[in-house]
Point group: C2
Chain length 200, copies 2
């Protein structure tokens, strides 16, 4: 039983680093990279190296950026008194794309999960504390996930915010827009019922 | 509405070169590459460049290899009188892994498809002709796909082989092992019925 050539095997193995990519997909990707114009594949390889070497965390909000301070923190058009706390850059982009929010962010790059070794330090909560004490902020919006870890993280941060006497809000929980009650999980339904709002 | 940083955007766009990867997957992959150990991501980038620059076609069978002649063609343990013709390196690997075939190969790197600009030249049929005329071969096994283009390709190659007076065989067509007749397409069923074999 023969194998692919050593270099091709190495390429396939390396591609398995990508999330959700197993042997079969990696093989398909490798053959595709060899098939398309050489320039494009080489560019991909180079961009991966360049990006990984140069992209760091923003000194203020911890979002990914190749500058010292990211574009959002640097922008003069943004309300720097509102800070939205998210878990990941993907969550940040979702809020940017889906809402009219125009404040600044703080990206935790994870959520508290002691069993995985993710504590306050890994989430940069010391940096967050500095920001909270700086006196520039009025409102902190908690936009962590609605999972167990997300809720714990939100709770810990809410305590920090409260100590600094700032306003804390969190995303509303309830029935998703377009969702049918019949298919809704009971926790969400119960929560939505408890926190029902005035209809006007 | 903010965007990712320019370099991160470039990384996401470049990752879309991979087959089956759209905006969402590319974004997930990019963030994953930034999250894992830097060494691993950089290695992936470097291996892509190195592989694309160094992997060429084997001079004899056209399979991918970084050497002049691939391992299979170079092997002294293989029967060099039998040549199996496949469309892709993936097909070659499937035969290697699934059968006891111990001959050599010729990899077309595609199938005849004039509308896509893939003619005899792109499939290296001139090189194949040389091999057929060399007098080293006894049997040519056609293992192209059972699609329209695959059949046309097989037909063209069969004509070439016949001219050189060599034995030509092709993979058997019929009911897949473990397949239920009820769910079989009618063409396959009809073909299997026509070419039924003696039961002994």
């Amino acid at each position: 039983m023969a194998e692919h050539s050593p270099l091709l095997t190495e390429l396939i193995d390396s591609l398995k680093l990508l999330p959700g990519v197993g042997q079969k997909s990696a093989q398909r990707m490798a053959l595709h990279l060899l098939k398309v114009e050489q320039d494009k594949s080489i560019k991909l390889g180079q961009v991966i190296c360049k990006a990984v070497e140069n992209i760091k965390h923003c000194r203020q909000c911890r979002n990914y950026t190749e500058a010292q301070i990211c574009e959002i923190c640097n922008s003069t058009n943004r309300k720097s008194t509102q800070m939205c706390i998210v878990e990941t850059p993907t969550d940040l982009m979702a809020i940017e794309n889906g809402t009219t929010y125009n404040g600044i962010y703080f990206v935790l790059m994870g959520k508290l999960s002691p069993l995985d070794g993710i504590g306050p330090e890994q989430l940069g909560l010391d940096k967050l504390e500095e920001r909270l004490q700086s006196g520039d902020l009025e409102e902190v919006i908690l936009a962590t996930s609605s999972t167990m870890e997300g809720e714990v993280t939100a709770h810990v941060i809410a305590e920090m915010v409260k100590k600094n006497g700032l306003k804390t809000t969190r995303l509303a929980q309830g029935v998703p827009v377009g969702g049918e009650l019949e298919y809704l999980d009971l926790n969400t339904l119960s929560q939505a019922f408890e926190t029902r709002t005035n209809y006007d």
